[in-house]
Amino acid sequence: MDNLQVLLMGFISMVIVNNMVFTKFLGTCPYLGVSGRIDMAFGMGAAVTFVVTLSGLLTWMVDHWIMTPLHLEVLNSLCFILVIAGAVQLVEMYLRKFFVGLYEAFGIFLPLITTNCVILGMCLFLERWGVDSLLEAVVLSFGSGVGFTVAICIMAAIRENMRMSDIPRCLQNAPITLITAGLLTLAFMGFSGMIR
């Protein structure tokens, strides 16, 4: 039962307390770039969640079953990015062939995701934190994806409302988005230290 609790805590901690966007600044580019509309933001979030879970699983396996036994840790980051790029490519081809609706919903985001820092960042953090169990790795990656979705959707909702407000000209677009992000981070800091 302890195990389940650890997994649940890990998940919550990745979604809220150690949110990738708010505490590690990973995925800031799409967070600022794609967060103009809430449906786009959700599509991006869903695609990221899917890919990060998959690549968290794959890179954990590659790291523990191939790289570590062969003492090739030096090549870890090179290898991870190849695994991620390959996985993204395969997922894209598979979706285009078998799930046309789903492909149209978030297909356009998939190529962008290869260079999304959340994905590679999560794989590297899994390695650095020394996560030993496969299940834990999958749950933590899934949590980070959900956390990213939460962050980008909140941001998109705020920005949709902000369109109606009168912002000074020099603050328009990027500056006000960054300042909003800063205030949002301040709000999420309230959760820090809750778990782990």
């Binding site: 600044f25 580019c29 260079t115 800063g182 981070t185 800091m189």
Partner: protein
């Protein structure tokens, strides 16, 4: 397209574009993760900037040398592998010669691989231009990025601790002075807000011209 050609028309323009007119962080707004994450103080910001210059120049050179061999569908993969190779070199170099910095920057050095600036320059410049222009472009962009990072790092370090590179410039209350350090500046929210204000300043200045 016309503007792009003008940028690459002379070596000097290519070099200066990255620093001012097309500064990656302040104007183009690409590769925002490292500027926010590692600029808690000037020193990590500088280390990060130098690593990025190294990777950017190296990958631009290699991509430019193999630009005739690139095939559209594997292009991105080739860029990524080239970049990852240079990042691994930079990472190992830091681990060997500056272990404390390496520990402090942690996963953010390998994360240079997915920094949009580098892949963006490989795509926009190095895959079209010769090696000489590509090196200058990489150098210009890298210096522009480093300057922006140092600006952010300096502002945050001064307000968070009253020091620059660990040397006190403002007398803090703890040392008997007047300045109360702002803890928030060294936290994530400080990064976002400072960068937002710097961008606002830049857009204000460029608008008047």
């Amino acid at each position: 397209m016309a503007a792009e050609n003008a940028t690459f028309s002379s070596p000097r323009r290519t070099f200066l574009a990255g620093i001012f007119r097309e500064n990656p962080t302040l104007v183009l707004l690409v590769g925002m993760c490292p500027p926010l994450a590692v600029t808690t103080a000037l020193k990590p910001a500088l280390t990060m900037g130098l690593s990025v210059i190294f990777v950017l120049v190296g990958s631009n050179l290699v991509v430019s040398l193999m630009r005739k061999m690139l095939r559209p569908h594997v292009r991105m993969l080739m860029f990524t592998v080239t970049i990852a190779a240079f990042v691994t070199v930079a990472d190992l170099f830091l681990q060997a010669f500056s272990p404390e910095m390496s520990a402090k920057l942690g996963a953010y050095i390998p994360l240079i691989i997915v920094n949009c600036i580098i892949i963006f320059r490989a795509e926009a410049c190095a895959s079209k231009c010769g090696p000489w222009i590509s090196i200058l472009d990489g150098l210009g962009m890298g210096i522009g990025f480093t300057l922006a990072m140092c600006l952010l790092g300096t502002v945050r370090e001064v307000f968070a601790t009253g020091c620059i590179l660990g040397i006190p410039v403002l007398r803090t209350t703890a040392a008997g002075g007047w300045f109360t350090p702002w803890a928030a500046m060294s936290m994530p929210c400080g990064a976002f807000i400072t960068l937002g204000l710097i961008l606002a300043l830049v857009s204000q200045l460029t608008r008047k011209k």
